[in-house]
Symmetry: C2
Subunit: 265 residues, 2 copies
């Protein structure tokens, strides 16, 4: 789907005919692959490079809403009123996403994250029908293809606000499940039963707190998750008015407290 | 807080001094009480009349954001940066809310619902500190006062997206816990253990579906909740483009399926 379509969003199932039936991912998105290769060279092995993509339902909702939305009610109307056309669109998006992620790996990405940013607007029934199967399909197909090249690329799934789907997400071919800040760390460990690594989940707004408070919040978070099978992270993105110094305090607190916890073990 | 303040939202704790320290609820909100009495007379005993209010954290976030917000990051910044001033404001709001609800009952409201519409933007720790204690305080104080008048007024708490707080909410002096559509009905029953009645929770967007599909969704919902200690409802409000006929189909489906379920018992 070309970026110029944004002001002309999908309205009815007939509009699917406006989409390219067969996408040349290299031609349309090759600039991303070039950027990845360039970045990989510049970081010179100092940190790993994570590739990423939006998940099918999240992309579908942007394509129908034509932008952000509080309710996503136009996109959800499709799910309820045009389930078949919805599945057709989700399938088309999945095909492109699989190629897109494989292209990122070929270009140098060393891990992959799939963002289902709009999962929380779905209920458990709609998530199980319109999101989860495609998330699973993406991981299965990417891994199958990567086997041929003998590359071992860990995959992370982040379905924001999909608290109801935690158990299912932990059994979806992803090595890591990312969590937003509404999930208690210990509860997340119990519910996923050691099946996956967990990533997250400090409330980004905690970066507004004084540094000592950030340190306390990080300590609690690490004690809840433990330091094994765990990637310390925020539970969502930063806001523009956040102080980079406090992001530094977050990283420092992660290092300090994880070392202390590891010593005790 | 006067409605003219909306374009001049609270920015820093000093701004709390702009607020009236002692609010004459009858004077400021008497028009609501008059509307309730008028409505109660007009409906002539045909249906009960539910009074309602926003909860303290939700009102606080409007007072700081000056309107709606996706992230509520300005209001959350207060919680992390000015916890004491936040508690002061939440306490002031709680005092007014208690009087406001009592005034609604005196005017003729037969049940009361408290909406913590912005609960889901909080994590469990912040909810437990800045929302739950005030929700509990409201119910406790309203009920204590109503005891003197020997009135038996059921109270409903609806904390949208507070999936993490379901157990606590079911033990918060409210007779009914309202649920949004991201909570599975059976899971909600298990987690609240029969301690309260439940209200909810069909996805409002399901009203976009054809009537037969609405009927199936309602059937599943009723089978999940059971018909005892239950108030059938949507999981949130309607959107302007929804067809009133489909709202009718929802109500009809609730009647049809609950009768069938009761027959089987």
């Amino acid at each position: 789907m070309d970026v110029q379509m944004v002001p002309d969003p999908l309205k009815e199932p007939e509009d699917l005919q406006r989409l390219q039936p067969k996408v040349d991912v290299e031609k349309e998105l090759g600039y991303v692959f070039k950027a990845i290769t360039l970045t990989r060279h510049k970081i010179d092995g100092k940190v790993p490079l994570i590739g990423f993509t939006g998940a099918p339902w999240t992309l579908m909702s942007y394509m129908i809403e034509g932008g952000g939305s509080n309710t996503h009610s136009k996109a959800k109307r499709w799910l309820y009123r045009h389930p078949q056309a919805s599945h057709m669109l989700l399938k088309m998006l999945t095909d492109v996403i699989v190629e897109y992620l494989l292209g990122q790996v070929a270009a140098g990405a060393q891990a992959l994250q799939v963002f289902e940013s709009h999962a929380g607007i779905l209920g458990p029934v709609e998530f199980n029908e319109f999101s989860l199967p495609y998330l699973r399909d993406i991981a299965r197909r990417v891994k199958e293809k990567l086997k041929e090249t003998a590359k071992d690329i860990p995959m992370i799934v982040f379905a924001k606000d999909a608290h109801y789907g935690l158990e299912d997400l932990s059994q979806s071919h992803y090595e890591v499940v990312g969590l937003d800040w509404t999930v208690d760390p210990r509860a997340a460990r119990e519910r996923t039963g050691g099946k996956v690594s967990l990533q997250g989940n400090m409330d980004p707004c905690a970066l507004y707190a004084p540094k000592e408070h950030i340190s306390e919040i990080v300590k609690k978070m690490l004690e809840g998750f433990g330091t094994r099978g765990y990637i310390a992270n925020l539970g969502h993105g930063l806001y523009p008015d956040m102080d980079p110094e406090n992001v530094g305090a977050f990283v420092e607190a992660v290092h300090t407290h994880s070392k202390q916890i590891n010593k005790r073990m």
